[in-house]
Symmetry: C2
Subunit: 365 residues, 2 copies
Amino acid sequence: MKIICTQSDLQQKVRTVSRAVAVHSTIPIMECILITAYDDEIRMTANNKELGIETIVPGRVLDQGDVALDAKVFSDIISKLPQSDVHITTDDNFVTFINCENSSFNISGRSGEDFAYLPQIENDNYISISEFALKQIIQKTIFAISSNESNITLTGELFEVHEDQLRIIALDGHRVSIRYEKLKDSYGDERVIVPGKTLNDLTKILEGDAEKEVNIYFTKNHVSFNFRDTLVISRLIEGKFIDVMRMVTDDYETKVTVNKADLYSCIDRSTLLSKENDRKPIVMHITDEYMTIDMKSSLGSMREEISVVKEGKDLTIGFNPKFFTDALREIEDEEVSLYMINYKCPCFIKNEEGTYIYMILPVNM
Amino acid sequence: MKIICTQSDLQQKVRTVSRAVAVHSTIPIMECILITAYDDEIRMTANNKELGIETIVPGRVLDQGDVALDAKVFSDIISKLPQSDVHITTDDNFVTFINCENSSFNISGRSGEDFAYLPQIENDNYISISEFALKQIIQKTIFAISSNESNITLTGELFEVHEDQLRIIALDGHRVSIRYEKLKDSYGDERVIVPGKTLNDLTKILEGDAEKEVNIYFTKNHVSFNFRDTLVISRLIEGKFIDVMRMVTDDYETKVTVNKADLYSCIDRSTLLSKENDRKPIVMHITDEYMTIDMKSSLGSMREEISVVKEGKDLTIGFNPKFFTDALREIEDEEVSLYMINYKCPCFIKNEEGTYIYMILPVNM
């Protein structure tokens, strides 16, 4: 194999596929990046069996062939080369020569034969969404997934397609994030659970351009995200996702509208007094024009008053402050509305446009 | 005690003194910041017995008194308050109320009586140097101190004053950094070893203004740095510092002049192939117009050629690449000159102005 690419293209593409490289695998080839150069097209692939990424690298193929290179060594070398043309050449034993200006590196490679190629997904079950919208709705919900693997379905996010609407849901035992995105076209129904790790990696790779489309393909066991010259393919999580929408209600007894930044910084301050181990709740006293937020812990106490617009009943209710700050951080509106029924029922933070619902369970005081 | 200060002044001053707060001490008061408000002056002090920092905080004293507050809790609260006036009030039991706009915090404090006050240093053994120069010469030498406490003197830097010259020396077993700074006045001779940790903290606090002076006071067991409204006082390291200057020579058999950035990036690339555990040397082959740098390790090999101007003999010599990049990173000149005698003698990197000497021992190949 003999190829020529620019250092900057190589660096960007190595960074992209590196997210699917296995870390500390017992199978050395899983720690490699596969470079293939056939039919005038250079591709890089990494695959850790859960997640696979393949991308096309701009460049020239002088001799066809392929080689698998240790991802860490290869990416370290590429990142430190001067910004110039990089020549990558392999011999019959997969020894690989990397030349750039006056620098020559010489590292050992492996045959691509043992590399686990990505599953081929070709079907009509796909949707189109802009990079920007996909990146946003993932980032604005993913904080609510569970890190506890005892219920594996909660470590992923539910993707639901119904006609021209994509709904994404994440939850742990205490809160729920729901985001809606209107699609340009209508599609058949889909309902899959995508691993949180895949989505995290995806947001790092997606550039977030509003003009560029991502095609998302669904199969029984896999989901793939195709955008620009890149394909991200992931196993799905099997199992039944909790029926969250059954819990969502439009009823309320108390509605509070408040400046989001004020509420955020007040609750954020209250977390100062809660140590990692004794998660103390904040207590909200909601009256006609003011909401008072109280926090008491072994370190001391805090009280703060915020002006609000209230509809309905007065209410005293307690929350884990972190669940509130996590949700408020992802809301872009200047004002937020909280809908509550009583001190035992969840609080809903949602907007009239219906693009998001954050649900937070109260704590016993 | 009752004082009013702005949030930004408090935040800056807490950050300054926090460097001298003990971490995980068995003595709770050593994890505190002492606030004293007497004679219309507010001071904050922290003291972990090795290092003490005291600073004056702009503000108004409404009631005299003092209180010691847990540094972490206090600094967390201050950092999250709105940018506004902060009122700090203590009652007879040292319960402390921190009020800012609509926020009120209430934390427990301690009497200042148990606090270890800083030693008083008042003598004439001092020198003056600009903040900028002091910060620079520390930063440009400190990487060479030893982290191995088996020889405690090498964990600090030697400060030597002779007439109008300050010389700072740091070394571990393999390399030496020496920086010279000309002082505005002449002073009596001083020779003390300042702990590396103190100097690291000092560089973080020093703003580095070329127009502001630092007065450095020397006593038998302490050194103090006085600047702006802040006093940093540190224990000295006892013991005899290695007589480094005996090793420094102006003799050479090979002198190489080379572009610093080129040499740095070439050696930096070579470090890619050396794993943490098998520190492989780089080999420099110096001939008339070129220096070739070679590196071989279990991961592969690298070769690179750099144009140089050479005086004297050809030479092949090996080095730990990290020692070279550490030194080159701190040199501000565009070109550097390396002076060598043979493959067993140290290499000196120094300039004609005599402001720095970096000495690096070669390795056996």
